[in-house]
């Protein structure tokens, strides 16, 4: 007999609101043809706000650690990740609205896709069963493939195709990993896998193989070396607004799932996965930082920088447990705001289409547009980890977590790589401030996206000067319930 699980809608309230508003956003412009574009943006933002409220309601929820027959976890880790993802989505929506309006490619699908992708991401952050993780992974990936190809430029379509093909491969790896984990433990629920693995002596080989394949799937999503090949092409090809959203949100969601799977289901294998994560982290920071030096396009440069930042988050993950989770969460928040802001400025500088994304087009920006140059400088400093920005505090957090568990060589690799990385961030600042502008270039003076860019700027400074603002929440969110 099949027992129907109790349906607890509150536990997946944010996801329901997001999917619901995605459907509304898709249908309303069809029914009401003359609807202003701004109204569609407003509807989507309302959906995000509703999901925010639904997430906050879960903050103080006690009782069962999982809901819906063990499918989703109910914990503060999930709430914090959801809030972060929803803020990213809101800013991404504003960017995208402006971007597609500007290039006369406006479509209502964009808003629905962002909402759907976000629903997949928030779901993956709380997924407590490997099947749900896979489901959420597919929801978010499919939406992202389409968003990458939303523009009719060749690069955009090419990027989408690459992303899709390689993404399909990685999903297959992930699914294979799920199958192996099931084979080893007889369950796909994270909690049951953990219990089965604890003290298990037989079948560990199968579990280890499963762990490796799951790691491949996650490493692809968060673009860690050597599964990073898609990142530069996709970041460069996708419409800049989509890149902004994707680079911030995918990383947060991918790492949230990785952290939960590795710290719950695979926690008994921690001694086995630590060296693996260690190696991924070290290779990612080095390769990402070194390859970024050779780039001449700012979007590509930021793509390689995102690879090295995946390595920095992994440095925190190595620490496992509460310290590691807290460090990784802070890093993700700092990185998400920084990279959202950086791509936002790139979008405004490149004005209409993707014409000016070469590094050379930043020459003399400090003269042409002091505000944008100052904002970009702030974001680049945060990426480089210079105080008083969020990026610095985040680096202290992850390196501190790594040193705390004795992984100081990894921290050493990390700090040296961040000096290498500082070189290419500085190069952009040199171009902006120490060289004179060439010719007259139009800059985008629209107010709304400028406001949207100043939100991350404010966050980067606030978290850099007063990390205590969110440190308290992160401390309480660093405990995974299962």
């Amino acid at each position: 007999m099949i027992t129907t699980p109790q349906i607890d809608v509150v536990a997946i309230g944010p996801e329901l609101v997001l999917v619901g508003s995605a459907i509304v956003v898709l249908l309303v412009p069809v029914v009401w043809r003359g609807l202003a574009h701004v109204a569609v943006l407003g509807l989507s933002l309302a959906g995000v706000a509703g999901a925010l409220v639904a997430s906050v309601l879960l903050w103080n929820r006690e009782g069962e650690p999982t809901a819906l027959a063990g499918a989703v976890a109910v914990d503060r880790f999930g709430v914090v990740v959801r809030l972060l993802l929803l803020v990213i989505a809101a800013i991404g929506l504003v960017y995208g609205h402006h971007y597609f309006e500007r290039s006369d490619e406006w479509r209502a699908e964009f808003y629905a896709l962002v909402l759907l992708a976000t629903s997949g991401m928030t779901l993956i952050a709380v997924a407590a069963d490997l099947i749900v993780v896979f489901l959420a992974l597919e929801i978010l990936s499919l939406a992202l493939y389409v968003m990458t190809g939303l523009s009719s430029r060749l690069g955009s379509v090419e990027g989408a195709m690459k992303y899709f093909l390689l993404g399909a491969f990685s999903s297959a790896f992930f699914l294979f990993g799920v199958a192996m984990a099931y084979g080893a433990t007889g369950s796909t629920s994270l909690a049951s896998i953990s219990r089965a693995l604890a003290g298990a002596t037989e079948g560990v080989a199968l579990a280890l193989a499963g762990m490796g394949l799951l790691a491949v799937g996650f490493a692809f999503k968060v673009s860690a070396v050597p599964f990073h090949m898609w990142t530069p092409d996709v970041y460069q090809g996708a419409p800049t607004a989509v890149t902004a959203y994707m680079s911030a949100a995918t990383k947060v969601a991918g790492f949230a799932a990785l952290i939960r799977v590795f710290n719950v289901a695979l926690q008994p294998l921690a001694w086995d996965w630590r060296p693996l994560v260690w190696a991924l982290a070290a290779i990612s920071v080095v390769v990402g930082s070194v390859l970024a030096i050779a780039q001449t396009d700012i979007k590509r440069m930021l793509a390689y920088s995102s690879i090295s930042h995946a390595g920095f988050v992994l440095t925190g993950v190595v620490a496992a447990g509460e310290t590691g989770i807290r460090a990784a969460l802070f890093y993700l928040a700092a990185y998400a705001f920084t990279v959202l802001g950086a791509f936002g400025v790139v979008m405004l500088v490149s004005a209409r289409g993707e014409l000016r994304t070469t590094l050379a087009s930043y020459r003399g920006l400090g003269r042409r547009s002091p505000l944008l140059a100052a904002l970009l400088a702030l974001f680049l400093l945060s990426l480089a980890g210079i105080p008083p920005t969020a990026g610095f505090v985040a680096k202290v957090y992850v390196f501190g977590a790594a040193v705390d568990v004795g992984a100081w060589p990894l921290a050493l690799v990390g700090v040296v790589a961040s000096v290498v990385a500082a070189f290419f961030y500085l190069r952009v600042i040199v171009l902006m401030y120490m060289q004179e502008p060439e010719g007259v270039a139009e800059t985008d003076e629209t107010v709304l996206p400028r406001l949207a860019v100043s939100v991350p700027a404010f966050a980067v400074l606030a978290l850099g000067v007063f990390p205590g603002l969110i440190a308290g929440f992160l401390d309480r969110a660093a405990v995974l319930r299962w």
Binding site: L381, I386, P387, P388, F392, K395, V396, Y397, F399, G400, V403, D404, W408, A411, L412, V415, V416, S418, V419, A422, F423, L426, R427, V430, Y433, M434, F466, P467, G468, A471, G472, D475
Partner: protein, 520 residues
């Protein structure tokens, strides 16, 4: 009264006004100067509130910053740092006066300089290791922009080199201090960056030595200690006069100050272990810097290399591990700030008129510009340690300390003084004496605003040179305290159990509850 917090953050008050586009350049300069003079007043107030007889940290202020990781806003000064704070407050307004002739993006320059002042003074006051690191690292960006935007021909190269070089050095400090934090969280059950707690840690000999090296490399780049000095000539030469003054007078001091504060305090055993090796590096720096300075054809580069030589004295003084040497090193930091600051100021004034820095192009300028020549001569004489001027007392103490620790060190250090006299006086002779060059016949002598910048430095040089007692008697308790601390465990070969350190502790630092000696 929270003296230090005011001194640290007062300069920031000027920045919002400077961001206003309507502000004229002249007002921007006056505004910056008045903010800095107000800051100087508070720095003098802090000096007055400083109790000269105590050896521990004074004027301590502590506010929780991120409580869950044990990070706090913790500032305080002792006999070392109070002087560096005062020196910073003196040299920044002088730097601004030197930049009075700048016409390119004045508001931005002034805003960056104010920001730089906050982080420089903050670095000298921080007693929380991470807070120190925040300030130490935050120095880089404003200085990078000042060199890169307002510098001369190869400014971009010099600024990037300066930034990356220093950042690489401090990367090791970051790992080292995180290691200390992790040790604290194991040994005390709560991670901390408070130096007063970290010095109680018991670390194995091996740990101490590695950590010492991590911190030392970071600070050695900043000093700079030979062979990590190659960024310095480029940065100093390409920087605008304001940048050179701040860089030479203040930023370089963060290096030896860091060694004194952190290397000696946290790793006393390692400090003794490495002392001779570092002293040798310092001596190489003294002689090498002097010889290379002699060979320079560019007068600004000459002054830059003279810094390598003079900073060698400071490092030598610290690692003689004698109280004379340490006191000498601290007063020498102040002296070098004054004399090299004045040298860069004068070279800058000269460059504004002649647009050349080549010594060969000048000559006979003493006839045309007697005022500039006099200032350069005073700075040179101070720099070579003429008795009656400030450097004499510092170099004397350092050499005394060096003889105390190893006669050979003392003997080599003395040759540095002799070589210093050669390159400085030779430079003076080639630049200002001899037959006048026709090209420079019409150039102006010192202007009133330049005199306003020169006179305070010369006055301080004479005061310290003639009557160094008020300075020295505030340095001495801290200097003998740190030397006693480093030497206290000399007999102990097997690491440093916390017990032994705790016994030495009270004589050096007052117990935590008595630490706020400040006036109210």
């Amino acid at each position: 009264m929270p003296w230090l917090t005011i001194v640290i953050f007062l300069p920031l008050v000027g920045i919002p006004f400077l961001l206003w586009r309507g502000l004229s350049d002249a007002y921007a300069k006056w505004l910056t100067l008045s903010v800095m003079l107000a800051d100087l007043a508070f720095a003098v107030g802090a000096l007055a509130a400083f109790d000269q007889s105590a050896s521990g940290y004074q004027l301590v202020e502590q506010v929780e910053w991120v409580s869950s990781v044990g990070l706090s806003y913790l500032v305080g000064v002792d006999g070392f740092s109070i002087w560096l704070v005062v020196l910073s407050a003196v040299m920044f307004p002088i730097g601004v006066l030197s930049a009075w002739g700048v016409t390119h993006r004045v508001r931005e320059l002034m805003a960056l300089t104010l920001g730089l002042q906050t982080v420089v003074i903050g670095a000298f006051c921080a007693l929380d290791v991470l807070l120190f690191f925040v300030f130490f690292e935050a120095l880089l960006f404003p200085m990078f922009l000042i060199i890169g935007i307002w510098g001369s021909a190869r400014r971009v190269y010099a600024s990037v080199k300066f930034f990356l070089y220093t950042m690489l050095g401090s990367a090791f400090i970051l790992v080292g201090l995180l290691y200390l934090w992790a040790q604290a969280s194991q040994q005390f059950g709560q991670g901390s960056f408070d130096i007063r707690l970290l010095e109680q840690l018991s670390l194995s000999v091996g740990e101490q030595r590695w950590l010492f090296l991590a911190f030392f490399i970071g600070f050695a780049v900043k000093v700079p200690v030979f062979p990590l000095h190659t960024w310095l000539p480029d940065a100093h030469t390409e920087a605008p006069t304001l940048g050179s003054i701040v860089l030479a007078a203040l930023l370089l001091k963060a290096g030896p100050y860091g060694m004194l504060r952190f290397n000696l305090d946290l790793f006393p055993e390692a400090a003794r272990y490495f002392a001779d090796a570092i002293a040798v590096l310092a001596l190489i720096g003294i002689v090498y810097g002097a010889i290379v300075a002699m060979m320079q054809t560019d007068v600004k580069r000459l002054v830059a290399y003279s810094s390598v030589s003079h900073m060698g004295f400071v490092v030598l003084g610290i690692f003689t591990l004698t109280s004379e040497g340490t006191s000498g090193a601290v007063i020498q930091m102040v002296n070098h700030g004054l004399s090299t600051g004045l040298l860069f100021l004068v070279v800058g004034i000269l460059y504004e008129r002649t647009h050349t820095r080549e010594i060969a192009d000048m000559g006979g300028l003493a006839r045309v510009t007697p005022g500039i020549a006099a200032a350069f001569l005073v700075a040179s004489l101070s720099s070579i340690g003429l008795p009656g001027l400030n450097n004499f007392i510092g170099e004397f103490l350092v050499i005394l300390g060096a003889f105390g620790s190893n006669r050979l060190f003392g003997a080599i250090a003395v040759t540095g003084v002799v070589l210093g006299a050669v390159y400085m006086l030779w430079a003076y002779q080639r630049t200002f004496e001899g037959p006048p060059v026709d090209r420079w016949r019409g150039i102006r002598d010192v202007l009133p605003r330049e005199i306003a910048a020169i006179v305070p430095i010369v006055a301080l040089m004479v005061v310290i040179g003639v009557y160094p007692k008020p300075v020295l008697e505030r340095i001495d308790p801290s200097a003998s305290g740190v030397v006693r601390w480093v030497r206290a465990v000399e007999t102990d070969q097997e690491g440093l159990p916390g017990g032994i350190r705790a016994e030495v502790q009270p004589s050096y630092r007052p117990p935590p509850e008595a630490q706020t000696v400040g006036p109210g």
